[in-house]
């Protein structure tokens, strides 16, 4: 099958290949795969306190279209807010890379990877907030519970 020039460009010169620290609270990691073709894709974002994606990296083992889709995704992610990033659609990737119908699933994989990286980041942030404010919650919540006990 003939790849478009843009796919070949991303395949030969992939942007932002690599890894960010998975243990970092400001990093979200998405790991997705297509068992029907044996592809695996990791996409990571690093987010500032203001909620802007300052860095994005990917590593994909798969076909040229899967590599190009994730490479393009990291390019698009940098500088975007999480909400803007979440709005990226696989159809935009298909259009930009001229993917043929049989390769549309590669762009779907990239969209899934973006969403799952954002989700991972939000989960970590929620966990961090919960860990930072245990006293406030522990102090206020047991009281009504105790009150219920007294009522009985």
């Amino acid at each position: 099958m003939a790849y478009s020039d843009k796919v070949i460009d991303h395949y030969e010169n992939p942007r932002n290949v690599g890894a960010l620290d998975k243990g970092d609270d400001t990093v979200g990691t998405g790991l997705v795969g297509a068992p029907a073709c044996g592809d695996v894709m990791r996409l990571q974002i690093k987010v500032t306190d203001e909620g802007v994606i300052e860095d994005a990296k990917f590593k994909t083992f798969g076909c040229g279209s899967a590599i190009a889709s994730s490479s393009l995704a990291t390019e698009w992610l940098k500088g975007k807010s999480l909400d803007q990033a979440e709005a990226i659609k696989n159809t935009q990737i298909v259009e930009e890379l001229n993917l043929p119908p049989v390769k549309i699933h590669c762009s779907v994989l990239a969209e899934d990877a973006i969403k799952s990286a954002i989700e991972d980041y939000r989960r970590k942030q929620a966990a961090r907030r919960a860990a930072r404010e245990p006293k406030a919650e522990a102090g206020s919540e047991p009281q009504p519970a105790a009150g219920v006990l007294h009522d009985r």
Binding site: V32, G33, P35, F61
Partner: protein, 177 residues
């Protein structure tokens, strides 16, 4: 066309590939255009299209992934890009690690590390094929059994992809050594 019926063999995952190859060669010989010189055009066309089917069937059956896919189709279980559901996250994590380790061994030209990775993946390949065979080759196998084998088929594809890249890496290191 179902490759098992084209070659006239029982639909199983565990097969004697040597025997099937012989069957494929016998059929190809019998269908060779030389045998149809002077025959009517319709007969020649028929032999040619049959020969193409036989080729395709052999290509499918000699590859364990394609063979398993053919068995899925026989059982009425759809296979392919968007039909198989999501991958198991633990499998993805493991495969990502293994592929990265392979890339590192390849970049570092570390033959010993490469051999270790390949040996353990080959073992895994045998295990997964045995799992698939236990699903497909049971005498009273059903469509549910085939469906239950989908995750193992996915795993086998990952394993085969790994081994393909590993074999390219082995060639590369072998040429240099």
């Amino acid at each position: 066309m179902d490759p098992f019926s084209v070659l006239g063999i029982p639909p199983r995952l565990s097969l004697d590939l040597g025997e099937i190859e012989k069957r494929y060669r016998d059929l190809s010989r019998a269908l060779h255009p030389d045998k149809f010189v002077g025959r009517p055009a319709s007969e020649r066309r028929m032999a040619l299209s049959k020969a193409i089917e036989v080729n395709e069937a052999w290509r499918t059956l000699k590859d364990p992934v394609k063979r398993a896919e053919a068995l899925m189709r026989r059982a009425g279980v759809p296979v392919g890009e968007t039909k198989e559901g999501a991958a198991d996250p633990a499998l993805l994590m493991e495969m990502m690690e293994q592929r990265e380790a392979l890339s590192e061994a390849r970049a570092a030209r570390d033959k010993a590390a490469l051999d270790r990775l390949v040996a353990s993946m080959r073992e895994r390949e045998q295990r997964v094929i045995a799992t698939l065979a236990s699903r497909f080759d049971a005498p009273d196998g059903s469509a549910d059994d085939a469906k239950a084998a989908l995750p193992a088929l996915g795993e086998l594809r990952y394993v085969r992809r790994f081994l393909e890249e590993a074999s390219a890496a082995e060639d590369e290191l072998g040429e240099a050594g």
